[in-house]
């Protein structure tokens, strides 16, 4: 990226902590309400639960200004490319929260129209069950994202991890190759 790339590693250790603290303290979600879960997401933004207490008050309508994508609701096959495009337009670092069972795994909609979990389309950091989850649950998941964001590596550390993840993904057995009982 920039400055942190050229720093010696003992310096990036502490820079990572400071940057991680700053990132975790203000995670702005992108508006991506798809179904009933987004009603609960709006309630979380309201005065009773007040998402601003943990630094996520602004739901950005432009993905370029957002850090977190809360996929709230069932994702239809037709909407999947749109979701991927919005995710691609978000600037790094970015996180994805699959809110509700439909976004996490397809939920009770096990049919041809619904993507069986948004992790088929985008990498998901935190899965949040519930139909829909109550605002407290969303706040809890946001806290988990916050802890996750605090530990985001920078520079060389980030490249190492990205490489390891890529290799693991290439070596993983695809679901179509898995035989026998899937449990």
């Amino acid at each position: 990226m920039g400055l942190e790339e050229s720093m010696p590693s003992f310096l990036t250790g502490t820079v990572e902590d400071v940057v991680g603290w700053a990132r975790g303290a203000s995670i702005w979600p992108v508006t991506f309400g798809l179904a009933c879960c987004s009603i609960e997401m709006m309630a979380t933004g309201g005065p009773r639960f007040d998402i601003a207490r943990i630094g996520s008050e602004v739901f950005r309508s432009s993905p370029r200004q957002a850090d977190l994508m809360i996929v709230a609701g069932r994702l239809s096959q037709k909407m999947a490319p749109v979701l991927r495009q919005v995710y691609d337009q978000m600037s790094e670092p970015k996180w994805v929260l699959a809110m509700g069972v439909c976004a996490s795994s397809g939920g009770m909609f096990n049919n041809y129209a619904i993507v069986q979990g948004v992790d088929h389309v985008v990498p998901v950091d935190i899965y949040l069950p519930g139909c829909p989850p109550r605002p407290e649950m969303l706040l809890g998941a946001l806290m988990a994202i916050k802890e996750h964001a605090k530990k985001t590596p920078l520079g060389a550390h980030r490249r190492e991890i990205a490489k390891a993840v890529e290799e693991a993904a290439l070596a993983a057995l695809p679901t179509s190759e898995m035989k026998g009982l899937l449990r």
Partner: protein
Amino acid sequence: MTRADVPFVSNLPRKGAAGRFFAPVAGFGVTMRNIFRRPKTEQYPRQKLPTEPRYHGRHQLNRHPDGLEKCIGCELCAWACPADAIYVEADSNTPEAQYSPGERYGSVYQINYLRCIFCGLCIEACPTRALTMTNDYELQGPTREGLIYEKQDLLAPLAPGMLLAPHPMVPGTTDADYYRGDVTQAVRKQIDWVRENRPDDPSLPEVHHG
């Protein structure tokens, strides 16, 4: 004279002098009233307000008062589940490993919380009240596998007087006595059986010497 020529006359009552004076700021009335009220915001991670008592939260697999499991592995919950979130495998009770009163018990019990919609149809279907719901709602996780809860994650904690299964039923009783509520706690015979077969069991009552 056409309709358009009739001058408009409002049906609303005319405002007095004071009403006309305050009209520009009347819209702030709600704001002004709320300035002096206490905020309704819940401070979630620090202050957790209780849910309604019948809130549909995480499931729990209950036990009989002597510690035997209530689940008999009938799979009615799995049949009732609209999201196919429950997976049950039943197995036969044997004298060496008696997990529930009667013939069968649930040897594998999984609930996929990434499918479960907390509708409670499984609770209605359960013939032995083995499956109920708690008010616990704090579920989230970084992996899909981590949110498939197994039997040991769902079983109710042991209350006083209970012994960890497996152990034999109370001598001289049938499963019907258990369902009528005639069994109230683990008896001496059961404690002795567990002490003989699993001496290190943490649910055993302490031995009083002397």
